[in-house]
């Protein structure tokens, strides 16, 4: 554009703007084809999940498989979401428990991660790099082997069969990513802003709350989403730490449909679907914050 002559520039200004003709090149076509295939790859399992959940147990194992059930019925969903029948009441309780655990994990995760990220960003102190690395290390140890020592720990803390044992454990899942994300945000917020506020008489904490936090809002939201989803979907620890029926979370609830002696595929699919809805909705609503957070916070250096 900078090399056009004056004449054409002038000409452009007097004529109405013309759309550039759409000329698909090889890359565009390839891109579209790829996208369509990818969408199919992504959607088919979900569609099948829904389709199965609407079938009767019997129909679900017919060969050749039917996409559209002959006698679609919402029986599985009605059973699961009906607080009056035994299964429904149970399922709704799992739902509530998962909600509680995930929310607390999120809140506490933020309470822990935010100051830590701030410190890593703003301060220099001995051992800073090592500590930062150790935060990453958390993810590296196999989940399953921690089961027994963590169980003993939780027992000593009196937390067995309490959802707090899960909350405490889940906190550590999201910490590395959270701290890293938020640190990136704080790195990009000039310290001068805070200093200016402090010169104006604000305390360090007020400066933090009024200036830094709003600017890092996408990061906080991203962290929140990530923690929430981790807590919602986790299976192995929930199964080990919780004994009472009343305290269990949804991933364990799914197991109920697939036991040693009988199976209920439509029920399993319906339960999987219901379990997925909240996190999907949550993520979809807030995903642009997630992207924004990654852009501003983590990716820019």
């Amino acid at each position: 554009m900078s090399s056009t002559t004056n004449a054409s520039a002038t000409a452009k200004r007097t004529y109405p703007k013309r759309r550039k003709p759409f000329r698909p090149n090889g890359w565009t076509i390839a891109g579209w084809a790829f996208l369509i295939l990818l969408l199919i790859f992504t959607i088919v399992p979900m569609a099948w999940m829904i389709s199965t959940s609407l079938k009767t147990q019997f129909a679900s194992i017919q060969q050749p498989p039917d996409w559209i059930p002959d006698n679609p019925n919402l029986k599985q969903y009605r059973t699961l979401l009906n607080p009056n029948n035994e299964l429904g009441a149970q399922f709704l309780r799992y739902f509530r428990n998962s909600l509680w655990v995930s929310t607390m994990t999120t809140i506490l995760g933020l309470v822990v991660a935010v100051p830590a990220a701030y410190a890593f960003s703003r301060f220099t102190f001995p051992g800073k790099d090592a500590l930062f690395f150790s935060v990453l290390v958390r993810n590296m140890f196999p989940v399953v082997v921690f089961l027994i020592p963590l169980f003993i720990l939780m027992k000593n803390l009196g937390l067995i069969d309490s959802q707090w044992s899960l909350i405490l454990t889940y906190l550590t899942f999201g910490l590395p990513l959270s701290i890293w994300l938020l640190k990136g945000f704080y790195d990009n917020i000039p310290p001068e802003l805070e200093r200016a506020a402090r010169i104006d008489g604000a305390t360090r904490f007020q400066a933090f709350r009024l200036i830094v936090m709003p600017l890092s809002a996408p990061g906080i939201i991203a962290t929140a989403i990530y923690s929430f989803i981790q807590g919602w979907n986790e299976y192995v620890y929930a199964r080990t730490f919780l004994n009472s029926e009343e305290k269990m979370t949804m991933p364990i609830g799914l197991q109920k449909f697939f036991t040693e002696n009988s199976s209920n595929w439509p029920g399993l699919m319906a339960a999987s679907f219901i379990m997925s809805v909240p996190v999907v909705v949550l993520f979809l609503m807030l995903q642009r914050y997630f992207v924004q957070a990654l852009t501003e916070g983590a990716v820019k250096h």
Binding site: F58, I61, I148, K155, I252, Q255, K256, T259, E260
Partner: protein, 506 residues
């Protein structure tokens, strides 16, 4: 027995006298038993203490309904109704797809227990079968085990070996050895002492689809007589009808697999250790003897050569086979007593055309004895036991009276029966004489068939290594052969080597 002075004296009596009094409490039951039909049945000592020729459909029916029991009275004679405190029980209870009647009994047990012991708070947790063992292990390792647990028959021994279970004297509960199957008692024995009481026992039988048999030109009224016949039938059915013949199960880490494979192994005169032999030592393995290889060869023939069993057998548990059976895609399989009820449930849930098809299958379902082999006819002796944990495993003092009350209730003739109405039989043999047994025999089709397999039952080796042998080594042996990773002989030898190494470390 109920004045405070008596109670105080009761508790302060020495062990021997207490035992005598407790025995006296159940004396009425035992006396009736000794003179009853059962005593005569138990003259011959076989694997399970009962002569198979004297235990059949007719005798079982004749036994039922010959006594009445007053459970409340019997329980209160053991543990007075003033027992108090909290007692926790972990149990593998009903799930969503369990028949309604079983769910109803589960609820009723909770209610009625409260009426027996108003001051005792029963904290009962219904834990999924897949999770129960892991949770018990983690819990007892971490000192958080419940007071009482009702565990499937194979599980208790590892806890006993580790000292997590309390020793139990049968007489303290008004019981005696004669009231239980020999195999059941073996499963609660460790180093000569009892660490639990059997609650229920069951054995599986063979079911088949008469229609598919007829379509393949086979006799629809009788199951295959031998395991070699099973292989031949399976092939014929696949060729002539296109449906799978035998419902094979070969998944690793799934309890169903050894339950359905070991009967054939034992039938051919082989064993994982030497559990099917008359005087097992549990120190050597026979899995790769001639019979063991022959049994494995049968599996190979069906899966690889004839392709007459579901391709998904390697990842199937019995659960998937049920679905295949009810839709007429599998013709025969070893089945748990409860599977008939499961089929009925699936039929009830079917709609439209499928309903007609499912109805045909259910109408054509037949139960028979498990096929025999060259050496014997056998089936896995299954069931559950009630155990009390030690203070150490519990992480505090066990509520002794409460635990005793719970165990006594679980093993009483009435509730050992009712708690397992659809899927098993009371371990306490007096249960067979109650009126409820009579009702079960009428209500539950084929119950007399599965019950008549009881004397052929062989319990899994009662050693802590059993879980690994049965759930990992044996299925892996099958998978190695069926995926042709190893030849049949190699797979058997490999399993033998692994079992030997495992046992030698003990």
């Amino acid at each position: 027995m109920t004045s405070s002075r008596d109670r105080f004296d009761f508790m302060s009596l020495s062990i021997n006298r207490r035992a005598v009094l407790a025995a006296a409490a159940g004396f009425a039951g035992i006396a009736a038993f000794q003179t009853g039909a059962f005593a005569r049945l138990l003259q011959d000592v076989s694997k399970t203490g009962v002569d198979p020729s004297k235990w059949n459909i007719e005798t079982i029916n004749a036994l039922a309904g010959t006594i009445t029991v007053d459970t409340a009275a019997e329980l209160h004679a053991l543990v007075p109704d003033t027992a108090s405190g909290k007692v926790s029980l972990w149990i593998n209870g009903p799930v969503e797809s369990t028949p309604q009647i079983a769910k109803d009994f589960y609820e009723e047990f909770g209610t009625i227990f409260k009426t027996w012991y108003p001051n005792l708070e029963l904290d009962r947790q219904n834990v999924d079968y897949n999770d129960l063992l892991d949770k018990l292990r983690t819990a007892s390792a971490g000192g958080a085990a419940p007071d009482v647990a009702k565990m499937p028959i194979l599980w208790g021994v590892e806890f006993a070996a580790r000292g997590d279970l309390q020793e139990i004297i049968l007489e303290d509960y008004g019981l005696s050895k004669e009231l239980f199957w020999e195999g059941a008692l073996k499963s609660v024995t460790w180093e000569g002492k009892y660490y639990g009481i059997p609650t229920n026992n069951e054995t599986m039988a063979f079911i088949w689809n008469k229609q598919l048999f007829a379509d393949a030109g086979l006799d629809p009224e009788n199951p295959p007589a031998t395991w070699a016949d099973v292989v031949a039938y399976s092939k014929a059915i696949k060729e002539k009808t296109g449906a799978f013949g035998y419902g094979m199960v070969a998944k690793v880490n799934a309890g169903n697999t050894p339950f359905r494979y070991m009967p054939m192994v034992w039938a051919y005169g082989s064993s994982a250790l030497d559990e099917a032999e008359t005087a097992p030592t549990m120190k050597t393995t026979m899995i790769n003897n001639e019979g063991g290889v022959a049994a494995l060869q049968n599996m190979y023939d069906m899966y690889v050569t004839d392709r007459s069993v579901p391709t998904s057998a390697l990842t199937n548990t019995q659960v998937e086979n049920q679905d295949l059976f009810i839709s007429g895609q599998v013709a025969m399989m070893i089945a748990h007593p409860s599977e008939y009820v499961t089929m009925q449930n699936k039929l009830a849930a079917a709609e439209g055309d499928e309903k007609a098809l499912a109805q045909t299958v259910v109408d054509n379902m037949s139960y028979g004895l498990i096929p025999e082999g060259p050496v014997r006819r056998s089936v896995v002796f299954g069931g559950s036991n009630a155990h009390i944990f030690t203070d150490k495993a519990h992480g505090g003092a066990i509520n002794a009276e409460g635990a005793k009350a719970v165990v006594a209730a679980l093993t009483s003739p009435e509730w050992a029966l009712k708690n397992n109405w659809t899927d098993s039989n009371p371990a306490n043999l007096r249960g067979f004489e109650t009126e409820w047994m009579k009702q079960r025999l009428t209500d539950i089709r084929f119950l007399e068939v599965t019950t008549s397999m009881l004397p052929y039952g062989v319990p899994f080796p009662v050693v802590p290594e059993s879980t690994e042998i049965m759930n990992i080594i044996i299925p892996e042996m099958i998978q190695n052969a069926l995926t042709e990773t190893m030849s049949v002989q190699e797979a058997a030898d490999d399993a033998a080597a692994r079992i030997t190494e495992l046992i030698s470390q003990a």
